[in-house]
Symmetry: none
Subunit: 216 residues, 4 copies
Amino acid sequence: MGAVKTKRMPRAVRERQMLDAAVRIFGRRGYRAASMDEIAELAGVSKPLVYLYLNSKEDLFTACLRREATALTRAVREGVRPDLPADRQLWEGLRAFFAHTAEHPDGWSVLRSQARTHGEPFAAEVAAMREEIVAFVTRLIAVAAREAHRDPDLPEREVAGLAEALVGAAESLAAWANTTPGVTARQAAATLMNFAWSGLGALREGRGWVPPAGEG
Amino acid sequence: MGAVKTKRMPRAVRERQMLDAAVRIFGRRGYRAASMDEIAELAGVSKPLVYLYLNSKEDLFTACLRREATALTRAVREGVRPDLPADRQLWEGLRAFFAHTAEHPDGWSVLRSQARTHGEPFAAEVAAMREEIVAFVTRLIAVAAREAHRDPDLPEREVAGLAEALVGAAESLAAWANTTPGVTARQAAATLMNFAWSGLGALREGRGWVPPAGEG
Amino acid sequence: MGAVKTKRMPRAVRERQMLDAAVRIFGRRGYRAASMDEIAELAGVSKPLVYLYLNSKEDLFTACLRREATALTRAVREGVRPDLPADRQLWEGLRAFFAHTAEHPDGWSVLRSQARTHGEPFAAEVAAMREEIVAFVTRLIAVAAREAHRDPDLPEREVAGLAEALVGAAESLAAWANTTPGVTARQAAATLMNFAWSGLGALREGRGWVPPAGEG
Amino acid sequence: MGAVKTKRMPRAVRERQMLDAAVRIFGRRGYRAASMDEIAELAGVSKPLVYLYLNSKEDLFTACLRREATALTRAVREGVRPDLPADRQLWEGLRAFFAHTAEHPDGWSVLRSQARTHGEPFAAEVAAMREEIVAFVTRLIAVAAREAHRDPDLPEREVAGLAEALVGAAESLAAWANTTPGVTARQAAATLMNFAWSGLGALREGRGWVPPAGEG
DNA sequence: CATGAATGAGGATTCATTCAT
DNA sequence: CATGAATGAATCCTCATTCAT
């Protein structure tokens, strides 16, 4: 099921194949349980070539992390039109997030589950990636607060906590949406948006955030 | 630094020591990176004894999972008084959750981060535990909805999604609270409760959920 | 040809077997070319046991070095009676040196040839051992100079150089004696002693240092 | 830091660059620890070219050995004027030896330390080289003996032993001189000459061999 | 019960060497 | 000529697991 074994490919292509394979294996097995043998085989190359191009298991994992993190943050950023009001931005960001993670489950798995491995030396990479996402969300929340007339600056730590919570909720929902049949990315995003924007309290009163209609 | 080496302890005590050690090692290193050697040494027993009592690494991990999951769900359940209104119940549940995870960071780490390792055969164990928590939260949300006069039954799937989101947010915040100096369990719970109950939209209007005063 | 495969030996015995095997392999192949597999097989144990007891290739080599160096310096020291005049002391030291190296050619090979590997982290070990021997010889030479009536203190550096030269000559002769059939340790010692004490110039005049008769 | 990468050099030049690089790497790392990659990079050529010109690691090392051995023996031979008396010849030979090894430490390292690796198939090459040097020294010693009126022929084996000892002493002193700051090749040669010609016994009497003055 | 002794199996990494272009 | 692409074969090392005492 690996890539078709073709000989003499240019380096860039081979590297991409290797990263693809690595993301898949890392995503499914975890960092420690993944074996370079399996990755090389899935990539359709010999192990030494993997080492020649990507140096070590650590570096390979870091490269995966970086690639998937970049792809995810770009997807989210590109999904958001910054001229809209904060709730619309958030809605779009969540939709992009869910869509991307649904399309790249292994990449998402690498980012989410496997990156938490403490003690491994790429902790910095992981932290940086996560911080980038949290910073993005923090900005959105801050915008929301700034748009409000009262209480323009929430305590910084409060905002950070909210961002953490939102990201965690999104992560959790992404996993749920990906494993529960019949749940689409859009529905997951709507659920989360509803939760995030209006809160559970609104349920009591039958209110809630309503997703804008008719955008696919 | 392991347990003091004492001879001839009753089996139950020895087993507890082993589980304590295992939770600590598994929590800090992850399933694959944890070594039976290290666990045995930390427990202050010989390796064969670990195998005699707990069979295999897998079984040992499963036992850790089960113990920590039970402890966490019990803590949450016991923290909640079911006669109160839903928001108070949720608040108390969250407080109990954050307090417990703050006091048992390794156990929480085992449950949260390390258990996600796909492919390992205790996935079922983890799923069961998570489902129990989600079910608990789901019940709370359903109560909240039922307490409301209008729209008494939200679509079941919607509720499930909300519960997932809430649990995910709580998980994420717990990690954040455990690693960010100066953030207490109570603050984390308040942040999440605020977020969950009132939503971000409320921030715009300067409203929000206010934690009940004076309960420690 | 390895040790007889016996099971369940006490640790000390097994360690000795491993060191014996390691000295032999390291001595014949050199540090880099020696493989832990071959050493383990020759020792009649599995590789993990070698690692369990001796940690790493580096540590194993260091242990060999230390053991052989200690044995050699002890043999030389014990061969010398410090109450005799300097030439007799030197003669006895050389005899002991050649006898020991002839009896332990692999150990000698480890010390001499293989230890020179620059960049390896046991350089310190090797240097210490060599310095001990050089210091011993230096002392003998200094004694010889002190026994003389004139010029009681040679420049320190000069003595160091002489000691280096003598040790080098001995090393070289030991190798020669070990590989040239029909050359005994005693003959090698006599040759060197003659060379060292009387010098080549004395040969011109038919003079020379004469080994004391009748001591086997 | 390797050679400047220039295109289209004549084969002889390229080969020289490769040998230069190889001597440096082999001299510093040893045969086994040296990697063809590093050599090729230092030589500023691609690895296949190294193989095209020099066949294999073994052949490359043999070529290094041969080149450096030839250079050393030529330097010694050319440093000696065969019409002088034996002690002057020996003195000049030693001076040439120390000067050459001081100027070509890597080459000397290849010859001395690394060549001892038993089991490798260039043992013959090394032996031949060493024998050539020993033969040269042997001739000098024989001359010294022949110049003497009495005892015109020392036993052949005795002479061989002396030559071994002298070469060993020279090797050792060369290493010492190269690593001890403030010791020049001339001083090392004088020390050794003193040692070799007059012997340690002469020290007792305050006599010794005196290097001829004023020749640089 | 409890443990010191022991290992099969596998995993990361390196290296000399060769084609196809 | 010259090189980028590629690999088979080792090598060091670790780990879960089991006996014999």
